[in-house]
Symmetry: C2
Subunit: 115 residues, 2 copies
DNA sequence: AACTTATATAAGTCATGGATTATATGATGT
DNA sequence: ACATCATATAATCCATGACTTATATAAGTT
């Protein structure tokens, strides 16, 4: 499943928002999502599976609990795809950001930040 | 259809990429997409419709041709949703970019760019 | 060992989206 | 007016994805 398809689902987007605030157990995610979307535990679990398999989330075990964390790798990909369009609405920022990302102005910026 | 759903389709993403390079007539888009994806003219036309109706593209008439152009408004939305995650992979850039976007450092940056 | 808690998987249903072919619309040129 | 070009719409088919209920797994508790 392509990154954009993964993000196409509002439940999955919401889960990622939750994870952006820090690790969450499956249970606490289920709790929030059930409250907000009114879907079942298996439904949420299936969304978590999609997030796992598409690389958006990682899991580790803590006792019986499964602790989920966001993995930003695919989000970076999405962000990079948007790059070409960003120039349309923020041309100056875009140009600057590119250079910063490349580290070319590293020192100069640090200098101007210092004051 | 939500912005992310629109971007979920590879054909639509490709069309937007084409439009990022400048206006294109429906016909020339169809030509490229048919070559790359092997789908019919109506299929492409339906994708163009989705892009129109979701605000990703605008059309104007030029003789019998329909000239499509990208409209970045929904892309901005998507970009904004990503904002919270961008901090994960580029914390310093993020902080800086936010300030620039808000225009708080406008003058200062212009000064430091001048030299 | 039996029970509970936490989570995942299985099987099935239903809605939707992306494709197809056929056709309509609408402007251009003869 | 007619033929053609450029594009959109209609009707239909099919695959897939998001949900459901039921059940499995696996770790902790008594």
């Amino acid at each position: 499943m392509h990154a954009f398809d993964v993000l196409g689902d509002p439940v999955r987007r919401r889960i990622l928002e939750l994870l952006a605030g820090g690790e969450q157990s499956s249970g606490s995610i289920v709790e929030v999502i059930q409250h907000e979307f009114g879907i079942s535990q298996p439904a949420v679990s299936q969304h978590l599976k999609v997030l796992r398999e598409s690389g958006f989330a990682t899991v580790r075990a803590d006792k019986q609990k499964r602790i989920y964390a966001v993995d930003t790798a695919p989000l970076k990909e999405v962000d990079q795809w948007l790059e070409r369009f960003r120039a349309f609405w923020e041309p100056r920022l875009e140009a600057l950001a590119t250079e910063i990302a490349r580290g070319k102005r590293k020192r100069r910026l640090e200098d101007s930040d210092r004051g």
